[in-house]
């Protein structure tokens, strides 16, 4: 095969690859694109080119930033900050608490382990709607209503996250720990020095799980904060769909902002994330 032929083949291969990726990306992007476009229109024009659909529906005409201005006038900056606070605190506390539990289940054998582990896995299989009322009563008895603790503490221990860590730590060969123990290293140091660094990809997954759980939380923040002084994003967003009208362009503006924040947080992580895979040889 000559050099030019190979180059040509690679070129065609790269082109085909881009085509496949672009097609998939298009499906992912289209709805958000439409939301972006709609958020840049005046409220009255949001549906102008939708029923029936014309290509103009995908362009922000007439263009205005009034929705974004309106959203921040309503204090959405504060609402985003509130949600970030709740989500980040839950995430950090949840990584420690659930990671520790997952480690204990994976490394040690003790009485009742299987039963406790099963209960933990079952605990996330019950729909929130079913336990909302008892959970509300518990929170009331603790005196946590209208307290930010009510948003954070019940969500820190997460059966799914324990399960995720357990799955990961069970996979790590026990020899590492045994060798370290023979060298006189304490369990805590084994956890912090050997297992935590190894588990970084799992930590990112678990962090995402905990973060997104709070990012999407809706019914619970509504119930746990009766005075509605401290609002989180999903609660704030619901205010745009009112009894008699919907403020569409602001609703979409908020949707766009809230969609971009988790993505922005994932981006720096993803560089680290895929780094380890560079030589992984799963390049098709």
């Amino acid at each position: 095969m000559t050099d030019t032929a190979r180059k040509l083949r690679n070129g065609v291969g790269l082109g085909a690859r881009h085509l496949v990726y672009a097609a998939i990306a298009f499906v992912f992007v289209l709805p958000l694109w439409w939301a972006i476009v709609s958020s840049l229109r005046p409220n009255g024009e949001v549906f102008a080119d939708i029923f029936p659909f014309t290509a103009k529906a995908l362009l922000p005409t007439p263009f205005t930033l009034e929705a974004y201005a309106g959203v921040f006038e309503r204090g959405f900056g504060m609402i985003i900050a509130n949600t970030m606070l709740v989500a980040l605190v839950t995430m950090v506390a949840g990584l420690v608490v659930n990671g520790a539990a997952g480690f204990a289940f994976a490394m040690f054998d003790f009485k009742g382990k299987r039963i406790i582990l099963s209960l933990i896995i079952i605990s996330f299989m019950l729909p929130f709607e079913a336990i909302a009322l008892p959970l509300y009563t518990v929170t009331q008895q603790l005196g946590w209503l209208d307290n930010i603790a009510a948003l954070i503490v019940p969500s820190v221990a997460n059966g799914l996250a324990v399960f995720l860590f357990y799955q990961f730590f069970s996979q790590v060969p026990k020899d590492y720990a045994e060798a370290a123990r023979l060298d006189g290293v304490s369990w805590i140091n084994i956890l912090l020095r050997i297992y935590v660094p190894l588990s970084m990809p799992t930590c990112i997954s678990a962090a995402l799980l905990l973060f997104i759980f709070q990012w999407e939380a809706f019914l619970w923040p509504l119930l746990a904060m009766p005075s509605q002084q401290f609002k989180v994003i999903q609660v704030g967003m619901a205010a745009f769909q009112q009894q008699y009208q919907t403020i569409w362009n602001q609703l979409f503006a908020v949707s766009v902002i809230t969609a971009l924040i988790p993505i922005a947080l994932l981006l720096p992580l993803q560089r680290y994330y895929v780094q380890g895979l560079a030589g992984a040889g799963i390049k098709g």
Partner: protein, 289 residues
């Protein structure tokens, strides 16, 4: 730190925060919820009715129809989501010029919250909406995506899949990262073809991750009803009326918590059986890397 510290104490310290949290905020409320299924409210009085609410379900045609819809929905959505999430994860970790751009776009649905995704898709799938506009260009007649008995459930599966697979993709990428590159290098030297690498190396080594994703995804989809609540309210002709929506209606719209909780207990019992089977079939002996 000394070696003399007993592991029992260490285990207790490691487990305590998670266990306390789960007992207080999950298991105790669950216990209260289950007791609701043995009660009915009549004229403001909470009455103990034993298994009546469960027995009533046996002759309840809405319940049986709903059970059928729930099982069919899950039989389709779970394999589809996991296969697509795996495929997407494999595309995500490829290295070539410009891939970073696509990676960003693949993450988009994670950020779009479910209610927003539902609003946008409903408008795009309406009779004169964007999707019908696009297929119209290809000469396909407009389809009643959410309003026809034969299509609505599949449209909901498509929307939930759009929303869900990027999320599951992240977990699978995490699993891929735990696979040692040497294994692939060795395989390459031995001339193993790419699809063989996928079937004989990647998937077996991903088993713990896939088990996690499968269990989590099945649990979530079994309880999923928000898109149905927002899009079709169980219709047309009950074709999307999953059990959790039936329970939600009973409890919150009809004020009939006894029936609602009985349905939830049945749903969770079925879910436990399914998840138990998945563990049996998939966990197997632990892999050493």
């Amino acid at each position: 730190m000394t070696r003399s510290r007993s592991p029992a104490l260490l285990i207790a310290i490691l487990l305590a925060p998670a266990l306390v949290g789960l007992v207080v905020f999950r298991l105790y409320p669950i216990e209260l919820a289950i007791s609701d299924s043995f009660h009915n409210v009549l004229r403001g009085q909470q009455l103990f009715v034993g298994l009546d609410n469960y027995l009533a379900l046996l002759t309840d045609s809405a319940f049986w129809n709903s059970l059928q819809v729930t099982l069919w929905f899950n039989l389709l959505i779970n394999p589809i989501q996991i296969a697509l999430a795996l495929g997407l994860a494999l595309l995500y970790v490829q290295q070539f010029k410009g891939v970073t751009f696509y990676r960003v776009l693949f993450l988009i649905p994670i950020g779009v919250s479910l209610p927003t995704a539902v609003i946008i898709w409903r408008i795009m799938l309406s009779q004169d909406g964007l999707v019908n506009g696009v297929i119209g260009m290809a000469g396909v007649p407009a389809q009643p995506w959410l309003t026809a008995e034969s299509l609505a459930l599949y449209s909901i599966i498509a929307i939930a899949t759009w929303k869900g697979i990027s999320y599951w993709m992240i977990f699978i990428i995490g699993g891929l990262q735990n696979i040692s590159p040497e294994i692939y290098d060795a395989a390459r030297i031995d001339g193993v073809k790419p699809w063989q690498r996928l079937v004989f190396i990647t998937i077996p080594l991903l088993r713990p991750t896939l088990l996690f994703v499968l269990v989590a995804d099945v649990s979530i989809n079994f309880l999923l009803f928000a898109p149905i609540f927002m899009l079709t309210q169980g219709g047309p002709a009950d074709s999307t009326n999953v059990l959790m929506y039936e329970a939600y209606k009973s409890g919150f719209v009809f004020g009939d918590m006894g029936r609602a909780m009985a349905i939830v207990v049945v749903v969770v019992a079925i879910l436990l059986v399914i998840v138990g089977l998945q563990f049996k079939l998939l966990s197997g002996p632990k892999e050493a890397r």
